[in-house]
């Protein structure tokens, strides 16, 4: 037997272990970790270490390219399995809701306040400009906006747009409108996040623009004496939706700030660290906007009382604040 190649003997001794590892990995990749038996799970670390050391040896003594290529690919797969995330999608989502999301939001308090200033600054600016001279409304909106909710509309018409008449509910028009708005807003939220990359400048512009749109509309209703009613109509889903938009802006500023002022880190590392926090916040915005759309599609249509609208609006806002900013016990992990 001394006639055999050293590299061949080496391979012959270990091949069955490689194949065992390959089998376990294929199984785990195709049907998830749960498909593995206890026996396979305990064998895995040992087989992995053996494959890795086989690779080092093979590189040194073997010229069989197939064996080396095979071991490279086997070790790469095993490495990513052993050191990769093994939690299921459901667990990851629970982690996100329980820990990651509120932690990321509360860590970005400064950018959140900055984003709120931009949004509500634009809002206030447009509101006061329009209150002084309604011509501003046309400057902001152009000629045809929002099915006639403009300064020329009558009070009765405006009132009809913020309350649901008897029998109007069944036509479902508003549901599809709400889902359209959700799509639109969620896309803009993701945009605000992604554009933060350019030092946050486009994000700021988006926030001000959104604020101006809403502020000028607010002024129209206000000037017709419907200020209180309109605010209730807006706030029932608005506390969630506007909060989401502010947070999306904050996500953009987190990245923008990290790129502009990297401090001790390299710009790349700083962007990377901030990017992950910001992405969490942006993901959360999408969830908030779904909730806002549900409130808008159902809550606002079903509840016609101003007092209840205000009540719902502020209790939900309170819940959001508690969820994000109340200090929580450190995880025992």
């Amino acid at each position: 037997m001394s006639d055999l190649l050293k590299s061949y003997r080496f391979r012959e001794e270990r091949e069955s272990d490689w194949r065992k590892l390959d089998l376990i990995l294929t199984r785990a990749e195709n049907s998830g970790v749960k498909a593995l038996s206890d026996e396979q799970m305990t064998a895995l670390p040992h087989l992995y270490r053996q494959a890795v050391s086989s690779l080092s040896v093979a590189r040194a003594i073997s010229l069989d390219q197939n064996v080396i290529a095979y071991l490279e690919s086997l070790c790469t797969r095993a490495y990513f399995f052993v050191y990769g995330a093994r939690t299921s999608l459901g667990e990851r989502m629970m982690d996100f809701l329980r820990r990651d999301w509120p932690a990321c939001v509360s860590s970005a308090l400064g950018p959140t306040i900055l984003a709120a200033l931009f949004l509500f600054g634009g809002w206030a600016l447009a509101f006061f400009l329009c209150m002084q001279d309604m011509e501003w409304f046309w400057t902001f909106h152009g000629q045809n906006f929002w099915d006639g909710r403009n300064p020329d509309a009558t009070v009765d018409y405006l009132r009809s747009t913020i309350y649901t008449e008897e029998g109007e509910l069944s036509d479902g028009q508003l549901t599809s409108f709400a889902s359209y708005l959700f799509n639109n807003n969620a896309q803009i939220a993701l945009f605000a996040f992604a554009l933060g990359f350019a030092f946050g400048i486009p994000t700021a512009w988006l926030l001000v623009y959104d604020g101006v749109m809403m502020g000028s509309l607010h002024a129209v209703f206000w000037s017709k004496g419907l200020g209180y009613e309109f605010t209730g109509w807006l706030l029932i889903h608005g506390t969630t939706e506007l909060f989401a938009i502010v947070l999306a802006g904050a996500a953009g500023f987190v990245i923008g700030g990290a790129v502009a002022f990297p401090g001790q880190m390299t710009r790349l590392n700083s962007a990377r660290k901030a990017g992950q926090t910001a992405a969490s916040i942006a993901m959360g915005c999408v969830i908030m906007l779904i909730i806002a759309a549900l409130l808008e599609g159902f809550g606002r249509q079903l509840i016609n009382s101003d007092v209840i609208r205000y009540g719902v609006a502020f209790s939900i806002l309170g819940l959001w604040f508690a969820y994000f900013y109340l200090p929580r016990k450190a995880d025992p992990l």
Binding site: L5, V52, N66, E72, S179, F182, Q187, L195
Partner: protein, 314 residues
């Protein structure tokens, strides 16, 4: 390239010139490929070589994914239109609303859901044998996956919006500027060493090749060596070639047709001055020579002497 091609002084053999040219080209190609290789040292202290996906592979995977997304969107929309004919206006709107939300999720979460899975790859990436990995070799976190995919909005979503913008002259200029901006993003992976998208940059990820290689039989296996007894090569004959030729020979033996094998066998016999026995087949000769060559080269390698190819004369 520290070796020069040996040739008789004063006489330039065109075959040698051609061989030298091919050798140079081969080494350049190797160098180009080695630029895409990154070393990852595992906690066990062993080095794994990760090969980055090329920009072409990534573009291919992206096109497959976009095609799948469109197929989903169009198929569900057609199904919905068909189902809507039987509905009253109220539920029609409701169904339409649901579909819009569904569309949003297909557009933004298709990549995220697949990349969060154990394979860390979308169907398009899987088809091309590539996957997403964390740049620091650690765990690929959910946050990274979210970040790299939300950025896609400014890489792909924004240019499309600019493209759809037409109309008057001002908008035309804005659209042009937008296209330039998106061109920068689109070409970004080509112009950095690690072939990263902007999304990869923000998320701290890169895309690597993750091909599944099958373990094939060893050509110099024991069952065959018995038949190889009658082939004995002199040390000079076994020294005729280097590692590169050994690997080419391995490829020939594993995947070539009988025709190619016959030609290769002819050339090797000629080079080493081998007189074929009457009953000798080309395959048997090549396998025996492969085993002999590999034995010789592996012995030399153990002594720290890698003979890269037949020009490598030390």
């Amino acid at each position: 390239m520290n070796q020069t091609v040996p040739s008789a002084p004063g006489r330039v053999d065109p075959a040698n010139v051609e061989a030298a040219r091919r050798r140079r080209a081969r080494m350049q190609e190797e160098e180009r490929r080695s630029k895409l290789v990154r070393r990852l040292v595992t906690p066990e202290g062993a080095a794994i070589r990760l090969k980055l996906a090329t920009a072409t592979e990534r573009a291919g995977a992206f096109l497959i994914d976009v095609a799948i997304q469109w197929a989903i969107v169009v198929a569900t929309a057609l199904g919905l239109l068909f189902a809507m004919r039987a509905m009253d206006p109220g539920s029609r709107n409701m169904a339409w609303a649901m579909w819009l939300v569904f569309y949003f999720f297909v557009r933004n979460f298709y990549y995220i859901l697949f990349e969060l899975g154990t394979k860390a790859a979308t169907p398009g990436k899987r088809a091309l044998g590539i996957r997403v990995a964390s740049r620091d070799g650690g765990r690929l976190t959910a946050n990274s996956v979210l970040a790299r995919n939300f950025i896609r909005e400014i890489e792909v979503g924004l240019p499309i919006q600019f493209l759809l913008m037409g109309g008057d002259r001002v908008q035309g200029w804005v659209a042009l500027l937008g296209l330039i901006w998106s061109g920068i993003f689109l070409l970004f992976p080509i112009f950095n060493r690690d072939k990263m998208r902007v999304g990869d940059l923000i998320a701290g990820t890169w895309v690597i090749r993750n091909p599944k290689t099958k373990l094939m039989g060893d050509i110099s296996s024991s069952t065959k060596t018995a038949a190889h007894e009658r082939f004995t090569f002199t040390p000079a004959q076994a020294d005729a070639y280097g590692i590169h030729e050994l690997h080419v020979l391995e490829d020939v033996l594993r995947q070539s047709t009988q025709d190619v094998k016959a030609q290769v066998a002819l050339r090797i016999r000629h080079k080493i001055g081998w007189q074929p026995d009457p009953g000798e087949t080309d395959t048997a000769f090549l396998e025996a020579y492969y085993a002999a060559l590999r034995r010789r080269l592996e012995q030399r390698m153990l002594l720290g002497d890698r003979k890269t190819d037949k020009f490598d004369t030390r």
